[in-house]
């Protein structure tokens, strides 16, 4: 049996690292730059990168509306860092015109932990991830400022939610793709498998 086909939005960001993590857990990774490519995947990863850049390119290359529609239709999506921002309902400290995909009932604060000199690594307990703590890398990372009741908080740093799930949507403020620990990606692939959207 072959693994699910999981797209990685490849407009900008750390696509290669997500591809490796996905193949480590038996998924088939495919880069997505076009709406037609989006239609061919069972799940989608929104990588780390610059959220304002990715948002602008989503608009330019006419992916924003197809993505919003796919999320509404139940496509499982995992976003890390910039990807978390894109999945939010609203963003604090973003650009006023910054396009978001939405789907997760939350408001995120961009660059919440500070500038690059404040970026850090820390061990985190993440609900739903078995075994030792997840080693989490935060790079100019956001946090969840406000979350609706439907959003399940999986991990926190200093009270702020940094990993969340709502149905088939998963988001982390940190970068599990940078550490070689593929348990977050395994969790996402399990979500994709159980959603069985049969797309």
């Amino acid at each position: 049996m072959s693994g699910p086909r999981i797209g990685i939005l490849a407009l900008q960001g750390d696509v290669r690292e997500h591809a490796r993590a996905l193949s480590d857990v038996g998924a088939r990774a495919a880069e997505v730059r076009r709406a037609a490519e989006l239609a061919a995947v069972d799940g989608l990863v929104l990588p780390g990168g610059e959220s304002t850049t990715i948002g602008r390119l989503l608009r330019v290359f006419e992916l924003l509306e197809p993505l919003r529609a796919a999320v509404v239709a139940g496509l499982p999506v995992f976003g890390s860092c910039a990807g978390m921002i894109l999945l939010a309902r609203d963003v604090v400290d973003g650009r006023p015109d910054q396009p978001l995909i939405g789907g997760l009932d939350m408001v995120v604060r961009r660059n919440a932990f500070g500038r690059q000199v404040d970026s850090f690594e820390v061990d985190l307990d993440v609900d739903g991830v078995e075994g030792p703590p997840v080693h989490a890398v935060f790079i100019r990372a956001p946090w969840v400022e406000k979350a609706g009741d439907a959003v399940e908080v999986l991990a926190r740093v200093a009270e702020a939610p940094v990993a969340v799930r709502q149905g088939p949507l998963l988001a982390t403020a940190f970068h599990p793709e940078l550490t070689g620990d593929s348990r977050m990606h395994r969790l996402f692939v399990d979500i994709v498998r159980s959603s069985g959207s049969g797309r």
Binding site: Q12, T53, L57, C81, R110, F113, Q116, F120, I139, T179
Partner: protein, 322 residues
Amino acid sequence: MVPDWSEKRRHIMSQGQTAATAGPATDSARHAGTARVKRGMAEMLKGGVIMDVVTAEQARIAEDAGAVAVMALERVPADIRAQGGVARMSDPDMISEIIEALSIPVMAKARIGHFVEAQVLQALGVDYVDESEVLTPADPHHHIDKWSFTVPFVCGATNLGEALRRLAEGAAMIRSKGEAGTGEVSNAVVHMRTIRAEIGRLSTLPAEELYAAAKELRAPVELVTEVARLGRLPVVLFTAGGIATPADAALMMQLGADGVFVGSGIFKSGDPARRARAIVEATTMFNDPDVLVKVSRGLGEAMVGINVAELPPAARYADRGW
């Protein structure tokens, strides 16, 4: 077995390093300024364009166009060439103004070997320091010891040995040098091809020949071994120096660059906002000629170039650094 050099170094460097005073509630288990955090920041810039800016107004144009970061400097390389004189780190007021105006990362240049300029830039809160040959070198023998900083560094390289020497000093990102301020892409092409060819050659060598290869490259054998194993640099490799058009950016991406620095090419052209957008879009869709046609139309005048072959040796920035 060869130890993972970067992790070893990271461990050494983390000894006696205090956690950064980050966020509202600092946690003692947090580690800032690690090799992973520094290199990881560059990973997030991949597929993107970093634009030289000299004012907050230009910085806003760059962010509006979709730049992943800006490089703050006092004069773009084309003006440094035209005006001459000593080129130094920018005025801190200008850098602060740009940091205030933007939400994307801000980089800034320090002179080769000028570790105090780098200290100033770190204290200002810049997100990346470019130890740059475009500025007048401050030390003819030694580059900055970049391990001793929390802020990450990007450095230029013309070949693999030079790239690995910069990594040995703690650089977390490499860019080709190209020939800045010329609008002529040939040197960037040569540097990118050279680095890729040298990596390809290392990958074919039996393990016992890597020691001699390290000697030839004048680089630590641990790094040479790591590159041979990975088949690429252990950090992000951008291109820089002479990129002036969307086609130039796509050319460098097709040659294997992870992303693009554009210096004088944008703000020395006829319609900077439009050209900036076009270069961003060409960098994303570098393999799609239909997009490249579309974004290359109606850009107005490109910067007036200088043929690199006509530059006297003393005017070649790529030869600075060792």
